[in-house]
Amino acid sequence: MSVRQLSEVAVGDTIGPVTIPVTRDTLVAYANASGDQNPIHQNEAFARSVGLPDVIAHGMWTMGAAGTVVSDWAGDAGRVVQYGTRFTQPVVVPSSGSEIVVRGVVKSLDSESSLATVELTTTCDGVKVLGRCLAVVRLD
């Protein structure tokens, strides 16, 4: 991949939508890779016992999966210099799986530092699951 040129980007440019599937196997893989073995992300009976509707994805899985959309747009995941979000709603993952839909929009550009700020909107079943999700990427 090659890194996107700042000169080819304008405020208001849109990214996606990109649909990303998530299954219980995804969450087990994420638990192992991240070290977050909280059973609410793997065990349906446990999740229900603490008042959740079903297994829910790790918020950090959702953040990470959404982040791939802006990394791919930038052309190099190492160009993400800031990334932040609020976790506003859980992504419920029934045994049949689920999916998230990620859209981005360029909010601002700084040509001196080659930085682009992208706001991501991530939904599951039409409900926004990440709030105030902003990534700053350094373009060429």
Binding site: M1, A33, M60, G64, T68, S71, A77, Y83, G84
Partner: protein, 149 residues
Amino acid sequence: MAVNTDFVGRTYPPSGPYAVDAALVASFAAAVGATDPVHTDAEVARAAGYADVIAPPTMAVRFAQMTDRVYVTDPEAGIDYSRVAHGEQRFVHHRPITAGDEVLGSVTVDQARPAGGHAMIITRTELTTTGGEALATCVSTMVVRGGGE
């Protein structure tokens, strides 16, 4: 259990080192669906200017959470970890975490206060290499349900 507000401003000694290798990077990338070859192909990563394959940006949380454990499990901190929900997460990346890095983490408690029957905790975790090179600043907001009384 009420969160201990005396912990605000406290910085714990560094923890780690946590080793980063190509297999760990590849497994994290696969789990979040990151297909950028800078995570899996050392030649591509080197051509992009990195020493080896680089971690996806949010993989920093693995080391931040390992580091934060010393605080959230501190009996004096008054945190019931079974009631903790992740409210917000922010990363500032100083350079990508790279296979071959030995990561140290240092956590500072920026906030620990009751909030409407719950408790709100903000940790700021600085990740560096064992050589002192800055990797990432990770700021986590956690809500402890029922942790305010």
